[in-house]
Symmetry: C2
Subunit: 364 residues, 2 copies
């Protein structure tokens, strides 16, 4: 079967060369006579993969030396709890900006951990998360130990382009659905974390990046697996890591580097957005975008509605016939959602736009 | 390169047919035109794999209907904390039997969570963990909410063949290094958990089996990812599971079923033990077993010492030349450790024994 054009929201498509590399050596990793899945995590062969994944993350994102990179388990969801468990001890407080379903979940978990010491300082749910807050809508408390945002709203399709001004308070971001979509200045953050399963690799792996002074604030009274300090001190080898997922991460990052790094990837993503939003805006009476403010639109997840439910169903069915999967909107939103992560190519989007143009002609 | 004979303690060898199946369909899973890594965890294609992994676990281990099977992340180490976090609320207490490094770690994490409410009721460290306790050495408290054991001591090579009599108190077992090595009666346990990376699949996945009444005792006040009840209620799809690891688990279990299930596997393991311990006992002056009591010897991890450090190094080097890896003992123990998990075949052990016989002849 020909490879599909994969618009799943996550787990999502991965770069073909990264998978081909894995397939080729699945039974014999670098002449070891074993699969990379079968090798001790304390072996020199695995160690090389592990460190390469970390070093490529540092190189591609430009992570400064005063930040630790950790490879963790439990998805973004466990981070929602680990962050407040580690930082909000001794009565410390934190501010949450709620711009979508995942930001809301992060806040909910922080409430479980810290009760009223976790505060929501901006909630866009009243407007169905269809835009991001303007600076004057965010009231950060000066006593906050950190401010938490979700950089890209996977479900509703908004994406921060400029970070909120926290006035020096450490900024923490869940970047699960847009990490490495473009170059960023890591120095703007005290903590970045991302589930791998959108832009980085398979599910079951989280990449976390923490500034040393923030790491110093972390509790050392928690169960070992929940302590960032232990994972950082042990180079994410305190326990057996998810070795195969880290191996695929390494393959994806090595591929990303080979095509020119985040600069080249950003250029592709801008082009993809231009093509797809261009088509949507051109047919604004037919393809109605969910997001109300153009600047807030996501380049990773693009939501729009068709005039009727019947047309939506037809769109999904015909997309499938045209080799495209994963275009159905999230259950709470409906309509169409195109997830266009890094592994989605410009030509994939060209194929989609051509399909959308035809669809308007036939049905508009 | 020819496949190695893999004696790693974990991650360890996997059945070749399970890996070949993965390799074959790595770029195109069941005619989807996508890798199983690239498919939404909410898709019907992934759902089938997920449920098959759970059902095969139920079938192979004979898990009764009043037990839930969960697929979790964070390794055995996170379970060391989750179990007391979930059960030891409201002043509840638990008893730990410490027979090795992992049992000791489980107790240490329980102490972090529950302080003095986690009690060590038997500690074999004074004898360097070289045997299991006799029944009269274990003093279980009648007020314990559970008793915790580690069924196989990976590092020192002891293995419980008969469970301690808890007089009706729920028994919980870390079976990371020997789950499915033989048929067991799951009804003897309230909770069983196992990191996948020894007998079941790749690292980054835990199989957990909990009796419904024990599940009812679990806290609903914890962060969501740390609540067993949520994972059980959501069929381990509360968040994105480690899909590829679960897929490999499915492949391994399907293979295990195809060769006759745990009855056949047990027969192989008994044969392997008979061959290897037979050789050790035959040359008792040369190969000195670490474990002091024959009945306590593990069929999964076999530790022995050679007369000198030089011979140990030579043994490791020559084993490597004979296509065998992972025979070096754990750093705290030294000597030789052979891990002979399910994927190690009788003929692998025959090759090892033949090598060991030659080695004695040359060096003894």
């Amino acid at each position: 079967m020909a490879r599909k054009i994969n618009f799943y929201a996550g787990p999502a498509g991965l770069p073909l060369p990264a998978l081909e590399r894995a397939q080729k050596e699945l039974l014999d990793f670098e002449n070891t006579g074993m699969s990379v899945m079968e090798i001790s995590h304390r072996s020199k062969e695995y160690d090389k993969v592990h460190n390469e994944a970390i070093e490529l993350t540092r190189e591609l994102l430009g992570v400064p030396d005063n930040y630790k990179i950790m490879l963790l388990q439990g998805g973004g969801n466990l981070q929602f709890a680990m962050l407040p468990m580690n930082i909000l001890h001794g009565g410390k407080k934190a501010d949450y900006i709620v711009t979508g379903q995942w930001a809301k979940k992060a806040f909910k978990e922080a409430k479980i951990v810290a009760g009223d010491n976790a505060r929501c300082v901006c909630n866009m749910e009243g407007e169905k998360f269809n835009r991001l807050p303007r600076p004057e809508e965010i009231k950060i408390n000066p006593d906050a130990a950190y401010v938490h945002i979700c950089s890209n709203n996977t479900i509703f399709g908004t994406q921060w382009k400029n970070w909120p001004d926290t006035k020096g308070i450490p900024l923490c971001a869940d970047m699960s659905s847009d990490i490495m979509w473009r170059p960023i200045d890591v120095k703007d953050f005290a903590f970045i974390y991302a589930g791998a399963q959108k832009n980085l690799g398979p599910s079951g792996l989280v990449v976390a990046i923490m500034r040393n002074d923030f790491l110093e604030m972390c509790s050392d009274k928690l169960p070992s697996m929940l302590q960032y300090r232990i994972h950082a001190d042990k180079n994410s080898l305190y326990n057996t890591p998810p070795c195969f997922s880290i191996y695929i991460l390494r393959n994806v990052l090595a591929y990303n580097k080979s095509i020119g790094g985040l600069g080249a990837i950003y250029k592709n993503n801008l082009k993809k957005g231009e093509l797809l939003y261009g088509c949507i805006d051109k047919h604004a009476d037919f393809y109605k975008p969910f997001v109300a403010v153009k600047e807030d639109r996501s380049y990773m997840n693009i939501n729009f509605f068709l005039p009727t439910e019947e047309l939506t169903t037809k769109f999904i069915d015909e997309a499938k016939k045209n080799n495209m999967v994963g275009v159905k909107g999230y259950r709470d939103v409906g309509g169409i959602r195109i997830s266009a992560y890094n592994a989605v190519s410009v030509s994939d989007i060209e194929a989609l736009v051509s399909f959308m143009e035809d669809f308007v002609k036939k049905s508009g």
